[in-house]
């Protein structure tokens, strides 16, 4: 959680922006004229598509955009209710089934376009937790197809109070107009979506930067550090640039495609929110599209993060960590940090874990689970070690694996483990009798 001081600054900032938004009509930001291509007569509840090809294409767009991940919880497919913790309070995803009262059944196709691509919903401005900032890039064709697909969804009555858990002033939807003015590029895709299929998927439906780009204090992606890694919901989304030390520098497009479609490239295995993205969305990409994403990512300029010289493993702490590793970790991750192909991540040669250790600490304290995919069915779990290890032990083991087998990374701070233990509500280490 952000400090009180930081939140105070944020409140002031948004209040100013809200005022600016109200005073100066930011035509460009709020312009929805691109939605004019959509029908404005039939509501979703009234509309039933008969075009099976469009429905199938629309389902693919839905998968690529991973709508189901955030809009499905206990009440049924697309019926909303998924809680998203933000630094500004808790948002709850909306019901997007064609139910008239509680879903989006009263929207026309044009209303739908306005919401998905411009962040303007039936109850006012949307919060950018909904990645309309990326969906703005979706083509008219993809949007039409998505609309056809949504008409086939079963209506579910499930009332949602989307922003009831947000603190003032963040519970004011109008404030998002100001936010949009500052941070939202309302324009469509600035290239040929077919020729640049990879970039179109990454920046559009895939909304990769939503997690993989760092965000500023007002929750906006920092364009200057595009896909250079970010922290989201207690996990670290790694650097996707060609950086050879902490990014995808050593990966081929084929390996990236494998990772997207199966959850593993043979070295690393998706966990946390990425496991959800793979399971619900990316595994459904065609091999062609997954390769297009891989090709695009391998074309990115490397971030300028420098390599870190490996720390010595000869210290007493690291010798202790070596024993702890052998007893607790090696059964699955291997004595040489080799992991189990397609099931348990390797540490050797796994650059994604050499940067920010947030996700690794998270996994140590709360456990993690790999995605279930059609290809890799196991979805193996990583157990929590919160009950067994102190903050110092967790930090030591992580430092050990981040500096062994050819790796080099900064030492993990026990204070960061303590903070995460508190933030996640992870249990304390059990008491051990002494004599």
């Amino acid at each position: 959680m952000a400090s009180i001081k930081k939140i105070g600054a944020g409140v002031l900032g948004v209040a100013v922006i809200a005022a600016a938004g109200a005073g100066v009509w930011a035509y460009q930001t709020l312009n929805t004229s691109r939605s004019a291509v959509a029908d404005d007569t039939l509501t979703l509840a009234e509309f039933t598509s008969e075009d099976q090809d469009a429905i199938a294409r629309g389902e693919y767009v839905m998968r690529a955009g991973d709508c189901v991940a955030c809009h499905t919880r206990g009440a049924g497919a697309f019926a909303g209710g998924y809680e998203i913790a933000t630094p500004f309070g808790t948002l709850v995803s909306s019901n997007i089934t064609p139910d008239v009262e509680t879903g989006i059944g009263a929207m026309t196709e044009r209303d739908f376009f306005n919401a998905v691509r411009h962040g303007q919903g039936s109850e006012g401005m949307l919060y950018p937790a909904m990645p309309y900032t990326a969906y703005a890039k979706l083509t008219d064709q993809d949007m039409h197809d998505l609309w056809d697909y949504m008409s086939t969804v079963e209506p579910v009555s499930n009332p949602i109070d989307e922003n009831g858990g947000m603190r003032f002033p963040y519970n004011q939807r109008l404030a998002m107009a100001g936010w949009n003015m500052l941070f939202f590029d309302n324009a469509g895709f600035d290239g040929d979506p077919e020729a640049e299929r990879g970039r179109y998927l990454v920046d559009g439906a895939g909304h990769c930067s939503a997690c993989h780009s760092p965000r500023n204090e007002l929750g906006a992606e920092m364009a200057s550090a595009y896909l250079e890694g970010g922290v989201v919901d207690g996990w670290y989304a790694p650097d996707l640039t060609q950086n050879p030390h902490v990014g995808l520098g050593g990966s081929t497009a084929e390996e990236i495609a494998d990772y997207l479609r199966t959850g593993s490239d043979g070295t690393s295995v998706a966990a946390g929110p990425m496991a959800e993205a793979v399971e619900h969305s990316l595994q459904y990409l065609t091999q062609e599209d997954a390769l297009a994403v891989g090709s695009y990512l391998t074309s990115l300029d490397a971030s300028d993060v420098a390599p870190v010289a490996p720390l010595s493993l000869e210290t007493a702490e690291m010798q202790r960590a070596a024993d702890d590793y052998e007893v607790n970790c090696s059964a699955c991750h291997g004595l040489a940090g080799e992991g189990i192909t397609g099931m348990v991540p390797a540490f050797a040669g796994n650059t994604a874990m050499l940067s920010n250790p947030t996700g690794m600490i998270h996994a140590m304290l709360k456990g993690a689970r790999a995605p279930h995919t059609g290809v890799l069915q196991t979805a193996a779990g990583m157990p929590s070690f919160a009950w067994k290890m102190s903050d110092a032990q967790v930090a030591e083991i992580l430092t050990y694996v981040r500096n062994n087998w050819g790796n080099g990374a900064a030492a993990v701070d026990p204070a960061a483990v303590a903070q995460m233990r508190e933030d996640l509500g992870a249990r304390e280490k059990i008491g051990t009798p002494t004599n």
Partner: protein, 594 residues
């Protein structure tokens, strides 16, 4: 009916190995399957990850993965005329008590039975003459074939091995004998999915000793797999670390063949599969005509009763419970040892075992390197692999030198004879003998008799008021002679290896008793066969008396091989499930005419 669930194509009663294998086959064929499991959900990383699974006190001593006797137990007696008493403490029987069943806590020995084991009656008559068979029958043995041959079983064994990732080395590839594998095994079409495990110090000694004696040692086929492996369902298993916490334990690193490690990850995601956990099936419910069943009556953990309708009912619980559920459902006729009428409860049998312990001064056996199925065996005296013409028994035993575990609590009585079992003398002896002890185990066949059977107890009831199962069993003369013979061979091997201060435990020397057994392999009572007057199930594991009921488990074995039962249970499950979805569903009725 109150609390009636939506109808399923198939209801599976008990989600252990047999239930999981069948559910996987049936859902893949598109059928809608509901499994009902008495125990709770158990998951590798949540319930027994590597930092938890070597907790010997919790899992092995206190048996936390097993069904407690307060839930259900059996009563037992050695012979008709005695009053059976309930078994009230931990004993030979290891009822599963979770999703995964006993398949979660088994050791992992992954044997195919010998071709002989399926046709004991026929092959005894063929090799030794009808008179020999007649005289064994006259003595009280109740020998009968399974109605299925090894040759017919081979493809199903193969399928189960592929799912389980079994580690081993072939000894008979399409008839070609291969030294280093088990040259006595039935022909297999291809080698094991993963290579055999490595030798410990004791296994190497045992291998060299038996080879020097002219025997044919080989590494036991194991469900503690030797390397990572992806099975045909797309599920990945990890390599065994030889930690030795296998039987009674879950496996934390996905390397012990089990429903958790091999089937459930794929099965649980199928939309046409549902499991009701912590829900106990009380009995099946018959249609008015009594010829078929319409579903099963169950009770939830919270005591609410309900009904699960289904077109097919598969009873795939623990061996004892398979028999009990048939009796509680009123399917078929209870076996009566005096009239020999009835088939339910018939041919109960066990596993005839002995062990020989020796000590090797100054040795470093390092028993902490272990695996539930880690060992070297000779099959030269198993089944009918040796000539019985001049012997007074049939059958035999696998004789293994094993390195299954070095669990510190379990082994603390494994010290030289004559040492005190307490105090500093014990501590000193244990510190020494932990490294110097080695064991040979004879795992023998068991032949059914007229007098051994299962029935409902007339007195004792479970928590729901249903009668407990009563076991009437004692060792028979044939099996006692067999294990005496095998034990002598094991003693010779131990002496030849250099073992001293031998301790011999021949289990058949005293009357059978559930507290004293080294084997948990309880067999029969609901056996398969081609004759409805002597078997409860036809060769497809379908009830002769009720064609939409199937039952798979070791309960279906008419006699026991000198092996662990799991692989045969798994193979029978594949066979039964395929018979259901390939034939029965489209044309319901008896798959074999009586």
């Amino acid at each position: 009916m109150a609390n009636e669930r939506p109808k399923a194509d198939v209801v599976i009663v008990g989600l252990g190995w047999a239930g999981s294998v069948m559910a996987e086959e049936l859902t893949r064929a598109g059928l809608n399957v509901v499994a009902i499991e008495r125990g709770a959900w158990r998951d590798t990383s949540t319930d027994f990850p590597p930092a938890v699974d070597p907790d010997e006190l919790r899992w092995h001593t206190r048996r936390e993965l097993l069904q407690p006797m307060s839930v259900e137990t059996t009563t037992f007696r050695n012979k008709t005329g005695q009053t059976a008493a309930p078994v009230r403490n931990w004993n030979a029987f290891q009822f599963g008590w979770n999703v995964g069943g006993a398949g979660t806590h088994w050791a992992g020995m992954s044997w195919r039975f010998l071709p002989w084991d399926f046709e004991v009656a026929t092959q005894t008559a063929e090799r030794y003459g009808q008179e020999r068979l007649d005289s064994l029958m006259a003595e009280g043995l109740q020998l009968q074939d399974w109605g299925v041959t090894y040759e017919e079983m081979a493809p199903y064994y193969d399928r189960f091995e592929r799912i389980a990732g079994t580690s081993g080395k072939a000894g008979n590839l399409n008839g070609e004998r291969i030294k280093g594998g088990n040259v006595f095994e039935g022909p297999r079409e291809r080698d094991y999915p993963t290579p055999e495990l490595k030798d410990t110090n004791w296994m190497r000694m045992y291998r060299e000793t038996t080879e020097g004696m002219g025997y044919n040692p080989f590494t036991i086929p194991a469900g503690n797999i030797s390397q990572s492996y992806v099975n045909p369902l797309g599920v990945t298993m990890g390599p065994c670390t030889y930690c030795g916490f296998c039987d009674f334990h879950g496996c934390g690193n996905f390397s012990k063949s089990s429903p958790q490690a091999c089937i459930l990850p794929a099965l649980m995601r199928r939309p046409n599969f549902t499991v009701l956990t912590e829900t106990e099936v009380l009995h099946a419910v018959k249609h008015e005509d009594g010829k078929t069943v319409k579903g099963v009556q169950f009770v939830t953990r919270d005591g609410e009763e309900g009904f699960q309708p289904a077109d097919v009912v598969c009873i795939t619980a623990y061996q004892m419970d398979n028999v009990r559920l048939m009796l509680l459902s009123g399917i078929g006729e209870q076996y009566d040892p005096t009239t020999m009428r009835g088939t339910i409860g018939r041919n109960y049998n066990y596993q005839t075992c002995s062990s020989v312990t020796g000590f090797f001064s100054g040795a470093k056996m390092n028993p902490f390197i272990g695996g539930g199925a880690l060992g070297v065996q000779i099959d030269d005296y198993n089944g009918d692999n040796f000539d019985h013409a001049d012997l007074d028994f049939i059958g035999g035993a696998g004789i293994m030198g094993y390195s299954t575990n070095g669990r510190p609590i379990a082994n603390m009585n494994g010290i030289r004879p004559g040492n005190k079992r307490w105090g500093s003398e014990w501590k000193e002896a244990y510190a020494r003998d932990y490294q110097e002890v080695a064991n040979i185990f004879c795992q023998g066949t068991s032949m059914p008799t007229r007098d051994a059977y299962l029935s409902l107890d007339p007195t004792y009831k479970d928590r729901h008021g249903q009668p407990l199962l009563r076991l009437t069993f004692d060792w028979n003369r044939n099996d006692k002679s067999m294990i005496d013979y095998a034990t002598e061979k094991a003693i010779e091997i131990m002496k030849e290896a250099g073992g001293e201060d031998l301790m011999v435990d021949n289990q058949a020397e005293a009357a059978w008793n559930p507290y004293k057994q080294h084997s948990s392999h309880t067999i029969g009572g609901l056996v398969m066969g081609s004759d409805p007057s002597t078997s409860a199930l036809n060769p497809y594991l379908q009830s002769w008396d009720c064609h939409n009921m199937f039952s798979v488990g070791a309960s279906a074995f008419p006699n026991n091989g000198g092996y662990n039962p799991t692989l045969t249970v798994g193979a029978l499950a594949v066979r039964a499930a395929r018979a259901i979805h390939e034939t029965y569903i489209n044309n319901p009725g008896p798959l074999v005419e009586a």
